[in-house]
Symmetry: none
Subunit: 233 residues, 2 copies
DNA sequence: CAGCCTTTTCACAACCCTATCACAAAAGCA
DNA sequence: TGCTTTTGTGATAGGGTTGTGAAAAGGCTG
């Protein structure tokens, strides 16, 4: 399994990241301070480093700089608070590969991790470009790469949230997600909204893709829990 | 598949180039130093060499010179920082076929690669006349090779950015590109401008090719994401 | 079958995103 | 160099999306 180094002082976030890194094939090593992170980063080998910029006891960027100075090319994904957007430039100049502003959605985190890691691999190890990951269920076609959803070849206009919900659910047919989980995954790990919001979005999504709203074909309700994508298609 | 040699010390750029060379049919061999590059360039056969001028441990141009001295005619595409424009003359005199200043847009990189490689092939291997790869959508005709766009046979004058945007979008109808992606592809891999800039260009482009600005025919908006070319034409 | 809890549906205000215009800076050209 | 075109960005108006309340409908439990 791939090794990831998380350098972040907020333990809740560390565990959250660790869990979702595991989903996509990473085992996480944890560092809660700059010195810890620096030490681990220089002495062990990782396929990914996740680095919080705002760390007590030192500027997070120093780690990035130092690691690059040592000739280590491990992809680095930087986490930064919203107000520090200026650091984007700085981060990329220091050798970071991508950055994410808090609070971010877990799905976006996973997507960015996959992207930077993919870039770090040699070209011949790349999965083929184009329509990778297209999914079809009866007359519903989902093409995440093109950001297109169509029914019987006819494109359906989905809002960002609707699209993300559909892709997430359709990626794991039969698995039920409760509303809190969906909020974490799509809205962000510390989103302060009501779970009820998810209902409204599912409702709007269904109205766009379901032939019959009374008896949904694709997005089913797991009563008392949340929603799932129909696994019998 | 064609073989390309990339000689460049920044690994991020190397991988970026490798990925996009693959798009246009090249398999990349990587060299991170002058000596590596020199050795590979002299001992293996490539259909393309991409060479960074600013390499640690030696003048990049030496590689070019040496290779040409050995009678190797592989097309060489030179990468150079903006301030070193003087080197253009020098590079071309040393036997380079084209050059590109950093940061460059991925699309431009691909276009230049295609151009130098095409020039290096014998005349009978050339694709036929100018209209190769022309695209027509209703009354809109796009001829990338001739850098010409026309509506009902009437030529439309597009600025460089407008033209590139149109060709890129029209090359993948139905696929949505977000603004950041367009900036990367057309403006350059580390362009630091605002995504909002894309809006302005799309707006100007539309005003030149769309019959009705209120309901665009060709360039559609993917709300919350970016733009796409109409796939139903 | 009644009561309670969950989900669905609808409406709407606040918010965010896009379209558009204007203008200054930058780049290209003569 | 001076002129023209292109380009980047701010400001603003308009439109779509989103979050939430409230009521209706549906399912579970005793």
């Amino acid at each position: 399994m791939n090794q990831a180094l998380i350098i972040e002082d907020d333990r809740n976030i560390v565990e959250l990241l660790a869990i979702h890194l595991k989903d996509i094939g990473f085992e996480a090593t944890r560092a809660y301070t700059v010195s810890e992170g620096m030490h681990l980063g220089l002495t062990q080998t990782f396929q990914l480093i996740v680095l919080d910029l705002m760390l007590p006891g030192g500027e997070g960027l120093e780690i990035c700089k130092k690691i690059r100075a040592e000739g280590i090319t491990t992809p680095v994904l930087i986490l930064t608070a919203k107000s520090e957007e200026i650091d984007k430039v700085l981060g990329l100049e220091m050798g970071a590969d991508d950055y994410l502003t808090k609070p971010f959605g877990i799905r976006e985190f996973q997507a960015r991790v996959k992207a930077v890691v993919r870039r770090s691999l040699p070209a011949h190890a790349q999965p083929h470009g184009g329509a990778v990951g297209a999914m079809q269920f009866e007359s519903l076609m989902i093409e995440p790469d093109m950001r297109r959803v169509s029914i019987r070849g006819q494109r359906v206009e989905l809002s960002p949230k609707e699209f993300e919900l559909l892709v997430l659910l359709a990626s794991h047919p039969g698995r039920s997600y409760d509303r809190e989980e969906l909020l974490k995954l799509i809205w962000g790990y510390d989103y302060e909204g009501m779970a009820h919001t998810v209902n409204a979005h599912i409702n709007r999504l269904r109205s766009k893709i379901e032939p019959d709203m009374q008896t949904p074909t694709y997005i089913l309700t797991t009563w008392g829990i949340g929603y799932r994508f129909n696994e019998n298609l």
